[in-house]
């Protein structure tokens, strides 16, 4: 089984420096591209490979790039940004790539920047990833010293600057237009689209924001081709491998690179070692806090974009949070809504006002003072804060675990009302 993204990552060992990275084939994709491919050819290759964004939305990466103005009349500077602001609760996959092989990300970024002819690139890194920051700073420095960044890279005429930006903590910064505002020193509120960032992004210039895992795939696609990348998907409609994670009361929580489309059962039972002794699986969020619950009846669902959607949820980030039978679903969802209410940027009213209300309703249920009407009110909020009613995807994302909890664990909500206490305590 091929694991292109993590084959040289050995947790506990320091990551490769530039020399070790180059000795194992690193930066050969960059040399190949600079010598023999046009930006358009790189775009087409990535589009053909079927690589979809690994940050959660799952949009074809090559297609996303294709909207960037190209040619002599295109506005400059153009920007390429690595979204390393991993902050979706339950998600810890990009940390592995950032700490495990920083040069892989840097090479991926230079390739993406070449494909869109960007002049400046940023890594927007989460503040909490202190080790990653240190490693990235060192690696960027090494890449500059080796002539892989800066002016006239490897004599190709292509130039690229790279900066590391560490954030100061806000979930909204993961939304790409909010991220742009944060980079410009503003409050991280989302921007109206259109214009899309590809046309008017950072400082009003064409900009691409790609997730870390997405970018890390690029050197391997360039080296091995689109067909190879598709074949990694092991019978799935989606190409490539994926970093999957499992957390919660399982025997072996962790993060693994596996072929796209591995089943939930394989993930939980094989890789995560099954549930801890004495606990049963009650439900799980397949791809982070803003994805709908699935339950034990979905164990054979394939973890790819289409299959998880068909099951009624989203692949999201592919890092799963498991809820066991000793954990109260109302308390679980209250924790999620507390997070979303706190992290709402306050820009639009349904999200700013609705989420704290949802949080309070859940708290009153959990504390035993909730009523049947409160449960109904929660149900209504899943509509009011749903898609189309808010400025960005934060509130609709927050409603996903709530609506599915009301669907699958309704009895638990009703028991809180009937007993006037939390039955799990």
């Amino acid at each position: 089984m091929e694991r292109p993204l993590t084959q040289y990552i050995h947790p506990g060992c320091p990551p490769f420096d530039i020399r070790e990275y180059e000795m194992t084939g690193g930066y050969s994709a960059l040399q190949k591209v600079l010598k023999s491919m046009t930006p358009q050819e790189v775009q087409k290759l990535v589009q053909d490979s079927g690589l979809k964004g690994r940050g959660g939305a799952g949009f074809n990466t090559g297609m996303k790039w294709s909207f960037v103005p190209m040619g002599d009349s295109a506005p400059h500077p153009k920007y390429l940004i690595a979204n390393a602001d991993e902050m979706e609760p339950g998600t810890f996959k990009d940390r592995l790539l950032l700490e495990g092989n920083p040069h892989q990300l840097i090479e991926g970024m230079i390739l993406a920047a070449y494909a869109i002819q960007a002049d400046v690139s940023y890594i927007f890194l989460r503040w909490a990833y202190k080790k990653a920051a240190q490693l990235l700073r060192k690696s960027i420095h090494e890449a500059y010293a080796a002539g892989l960044l800066g002016k006239n890279i490897l004599g190709s005429g292509f130039s690229l600057e790279m900066h590391l930006h560490t954030g100061v903590g806000r979930y909204m910064c993961g939304e790409e237009t909010a991220l742009l505002n944060a980079l410009e020193g503003k409050r991280a509120t989302p921007r109206a689209k259109p214009p899309f960032p590809q046309i008017s992004g950072l400082y009003g210039k064409p900009t691409i924001v790609n997730n870390v895992e997405t970018l890390c795939n690029l050197p391997h696609i360039v080296n091995n081709g689109a067909e190879w990348f598709k074949s990694l998907g092991n019978g799935s409609a989606d190409s490539g491998t994926k970093l999957y994670g499992v957390s919660g009361k399982v025997n072996n929580p962790g993060c693994w690179e596996l072929p796209m489309g591995v089943t939930v059962r394989e993930l939980i039972e094989e890789h995560a070692g099954g549930m801890k002794n004495g606990y049963q699986l009650k439900g799980f969020l397949p791809g982070g806090a803003s994805t709908d619950f699935l339950t034990a009846e979905h164990l054979d669902v394939k973890m790819d974009f289409a299959s998880v959607t068909a099951a009624g949820s989203r692949l999201g980030t592919g890092t799963m949070v498991v809820m066991d039978d000793a954990t109260c679903p109302v308390g679980f969802v209250h924790n999620l809504q507390h997070f979303f209410a706190q992290e709402s940027c306050g820009w639009c009213t349904p999200c700013r006002e609705g989420l704290p209300w949802v949080e309070k309703l859940l708290l009153s249920l959990e504390q035993g003072s909730g009523t049947t009407e409160d449960v109904e009110l929660l149900q209504m909020h899943t509509q009011w804060l749903g898609p189309g009613n808010t400025f960005c995807a934060l509130a609709p994302g927050a409603m996903e675990p709530l609506q599915s909890a009301l669907k699958y664990f309704r009895e638990d909500f009703e028991k809180h009302v009937a007993l006037r206490r939390c039955p799990y305590q």
Binding site: P89, F92, V168, G169, R170, G185, G245, V322
Partner: protein, 182 residues
């Protein structure tokens, strides 16, 4: 031109940037080290205000938190109004607008840590330090804060103290961890 010494009464939300940008006193508030670091960041962006988050980080690094005086000084230095700077400073979780202790303990309270009972860790910390979330010990040693997902869900519960990450935290570990910070 207003050159009065800045103090807490001098915060205004008038949006009138002129009298701040002209005041030399405010600029003198920042140390050479802080100004050099801010100048370095300003050189990387197309206009000064784009460096405001970096400036807040720099001043906080030197002074632990952003006081009203610091805020006014940054505003003057970057030719922004204090209200603009405060709107940014108060937006982000890790810019502190109130004094914090020498060490900031960030306990992850997000979902995986909830399932793995971060509540027990919080309860033990409360008992040991006699403070709740948002409070600082009377000796100014620790500030205790809740924090969103630290991206360490496979080793929950997790917490950070200053720049150090602690994984698979148990109540028994806390005394030994806290000893490292004084």
């Amino acid at each position: 031109m207003i050159t009065q010494k800045i103090n807490k009464d001098n915060i205004t939300t008038s949006g009138d940037t002129a009298h701040y940008t002209e005041g030399l006193q405010e600029e003198q508030y920042l140390t050479d080290l802080e100004r050099q670091a801010i100048d370095h960041e300003v050189a990387l962006v197309p206009y000064k205000s784009a460096a405001v988050i970096e400036a807040l980080k720099i001043v906080q690094h030197h002074r632990r938190w952003i006081s009203d005086d610091s805020l006014n000084a940054i505003a003057a230095y970057l030719q922004m109004s204090p209200a603009e700077v405060d709107s940014v400073a108060t937006f982000y979780n890790l810019i502190f607008r109130k004094p914090v202790g020498r060490h900031v303990i960030l306990v992850c309270d997000s979902i995986s840590c909830y399932v793995m009972k971060y509540g027990d860790i919080y309860k033990a910390l409360q008992e040991k330090l006699h403070i709740k979330f948002g409070e600082t010990t009377s000796d100014q040693c620790y500030t205790l804060l809740p924090n969103c997902c630290l991206g360490c869900c496979d080793h929950a519960p997790a917490m950070m103290i200053d720049n150090d990450l602690y994984k698979d935290v148990t109540v028994d570990m806390l005394d030994r961890i806290l000893q490292k910070y004084s």
